[in-house]
């Protein structure tokens, strides 16, 4: 809208990066976060997290499989998507994307394969018909399991998990860097961006695991492993504090510097982003879970049922918080005109190619895939051990 006091460049009336680009960092955030959680057990030997380690790893793969879908839907020429690996321009922050993504995918797939190998062989031996052939294909025809192969598999899993942590951080920190390195954008351009992205990734990874872990157990009428559940809740509490504080410190420092940048950004924060950023992201979905998680972590006498529900509730709220954060960064940054004199508008539309319906579909599909994965790689079964 052009009002007497506001001006945007004529080409800025259309927002280039739509809600699809909001979903991409959201999904990769869960990928990286879930992977890091699984590594807590594999690498740092947190035995309490053992019940959730495999679940975390497979969730990571389910989200990873669909992380590129919003990007492909957004590309003007998706048929040329592989140009990014065929003719990469390494001066571009974006050019490494394909390689980092593929590399990370390889690590996750290998880690899953090695951590499920013994179990899959057991299933292969017990199954019949086509299912047997599917398992045979997955285990690549190798049916050797004994004490030394199990030790060997564990070693490899530990190595991959350790190696995967920096790669997961790179994958997601890199997304932050893509935004943070755009000097033309007042809201994005900050070296802190990739650090904020890594921490928010861990928050969303922990939140989605807690949310699903409890949810699946409610549906199956089973009880969660209280120790690991509470430990994850504490981790979530800690990481969300770091993520939110980092983000607020960033805004604080811009406002204190009080340059021309703040003149524009304060209008953004108090105007277009007032509801989605100030009210929703900060007050409702950051402060809310912070208070709830503080209570569940500090009040020892709280009844377990209530405590578990509150933890589950706050994990759901934090999932929304991270989605809001992605929206406020990606869309918020594009609302600011490069003329520094006004703001443009954006609404994705309900049934558009890059609209809300498609977005919900893209978010839901990884969860359905996760359900299918559960059939192949059961998350919460007692691991089969060699006799």
């Amino acid at each position: 809208m052009q009002t007497p006091d506001s001006f945007v460049f004529p080409n800025e009336l259309h927002v280039t990066w739509t809600v699809m680009i909001v979903l991409y960092p959201y999904i990769t955030g869960m990928v990286a976060g879930a992977f890091i959680v699984s590594s807590f057990y594999h690498v740092f030997g947190m035995e309490k997290l053992k019940p959730i380690a495999k679940f975390a790893l497979v969730s990571s793969l389910a989200f990873l499989c669909f992380a590129t879908v919003p990007l492909l839907n957004h590309l003007g020429r998706p048929d040329r998507a592989f140009n990014i690996m065929v003719t990469p321009n390494f001066n571009s922050a974006m050019s490494g994307f394909g390689f980092v993504y593929l590399f990370y995918m390889t690590i996750v797939v290998l880690e899953i394969w090695f951590s499920y190998r013994a179990e899959l062989i057991n299933k292969y031996l017990r199954s019949k018909g086509i299912v047997k052939q599917i398992y045979r294909f997955i285990i690549l025809g190798n049916t050797t399991v004994n004490d030394s192969t199990i030790v060997y598999d564990r070693k490899i899993v530990t190595f991959l998990a350790a190696f995967g942590i920096p790669v997961a951080c790179v994958l997601h920190g890199y997304v932050g860097f893509l935004f943070g390195s755009i000097k033309a954008n007042l809201w994005w351009s900050t070296p802190l961006m990739f650090i904020i992205f890594i921490f928010s990734a861990i928050v969303s990874g922990l939140a989605v695991l807690i949310f699903l872990y409890q949810f699946v157990h409610w549906i199956r009428r089973k009880t969660v492993n209280q120790e690991s559940y509470e430990l994850m809740a504490k981790w979530l509490w800690g990481f969300m504090i770091i993520a939110v504080v980092l983000e607020l410190m960033e805004v604080l420092s811009i406002s204190y510097e009080n340059t021309e940048r703040w003149e524009v950004l304060q209008l953004l924060i108090n105007g277009k982003l007032k509801i989605s950023y100030v009210y929703l992201q900060i007050f409702v979905f950051s402060l809310g879970p912070f208070l709830i998680l503080s209570a569940t972590s500090l009040i020892k006498s709280m009844p377990i049922k209530l405590k578990n529900f509150l933890i589950w509730l706050s994990s759901g709220m934090l999932l929304i918080q991270v989605l809001l954060m992605r929206w406020n960064v990606v869309i918020g940054g594009q609302l600011v005109s490069k003329s520094m004199r006004g703001f443009t508008e954006y609404f994705p539309g309900y049934f558009d190619k890059e609209g809300l319906l498609v977005s919900f579909g893209i978010i839901l599909v990884p969860f359905i895939l996760l359900m299918l994965f559960d059939k192949l790689f059961p998350f919460f079964e007692k691991p089969w051990e060699a006799k």
Partner: protein, 255 residues
């Protein structure tokens, strides 16, 4: 009667066949010749040029002829612009108001802001700055945006994936995604024209010679001579893009 008919028919077919063949052969020669020879210039030849642009804002009258010429010449999609003109108005209270209705396609018909007396007003044409260190070239992940040897920032539309990263990176809002082709687009300084020795369409169309175009490497060129003589500025110099579009009479309000 029948015999004559047969002969005539045969004759007719023969003549028809020869005529068609003749027309086809003739047209092959006629249409294979173009009135313009295709010029192939080696990179060495091209690197003798460094195309630059100069906008004398003090001369611009905001007629929008440049915007219209550009639209026609380059088939620019509706509501996107390779060049546009901004109007700045400063009123007696020091309040600044800027507008560019439809990129000044239809010039500036009404005075939108008339609550206070306007003490200063001017027009600023904008276009791709063809920066020496362009942010868009840096960020293109597939190398579709490149600097030509004669100093023009161009897009290889057969390679562009339409990710829009360059649109985000350009600090001047000069790029857009052509949704019909799914690729990025922007001003090329009318590369097809300048290769034939013609001026870009907007330069040609400007009735006030507010837009000057030329070879920065040639000390005798008009643009070089003016730059040697006048004081000028560039847009957003702090971003380190080193724009090659120079402005005479640039106001601090112009960003």
């Amino acid at each position: 009667m029948d015999k004559i008919d047969k002969i005539e028919r045969r004759q007719f077919l023969k003549i028809g066949l020869y005529t068609t063949a003749g027309i086809m052969m003739g047209s092959l020669f006629a249409f294979s010749k173009t009135d313009r020879e295709i010029l192939y210039k080696s990179p060495e030849d091209l690197s003798k040029f460094d195309w630059g642009f100069l906008v004398d804002t003090t001369r611009c009258i905001g007629c929008g002829a440049c915007v219209r010429a550009c639209k026609v010449e380059n088939n620019v999609p509706d509501s996107y612009f390779r060049t546009w003109v901004e109007r700045y108005e400063i009123d007696i209270n020091g309040k600044v108001r800027v507008d560019s209705p439809n990129g000044a396609m239809d010039s500036f018909k009404d005075d939108n802001f008339n609550e206070a007396e306007i003490v200063k007003a001017f027009f600023v044409p904008k276009l791709c700055n063809h920066c020496y260190d362009s942010a868009c070239t840096q960020v293109c992940p597939v190398g579709a945006t490149y600097d030509s040897p004669d100093g023009v920032v161009l897009i290889d539309k057969d390679r562009c994936v339409g990710c829009g990263y360059c649109v985000q990176a350009c600090p001047y809002g000069c790029r857009y995604i052509d949704h019909e082709k799914g690729v990025a687009d922007k001003c090329t300084l009318c590369y097809h024209r300048i290769q034939r020795g013609e001026a870009p369409a907007c330069v040609n169309a400007c009735p006030r010679a507010a837009r000057i175009f030329g070879n920065l490497k040639d000390p005798e060129s008009k643009i070089r001579k003016i730059l040697n003589l006048r004081r000028y500025g560039t847009l957003k110099p702090d971003l380190g893009t080193n724009p090659k579009c120079y402005y005479i009479g640039l106001d601090m309000e112009v960003k």
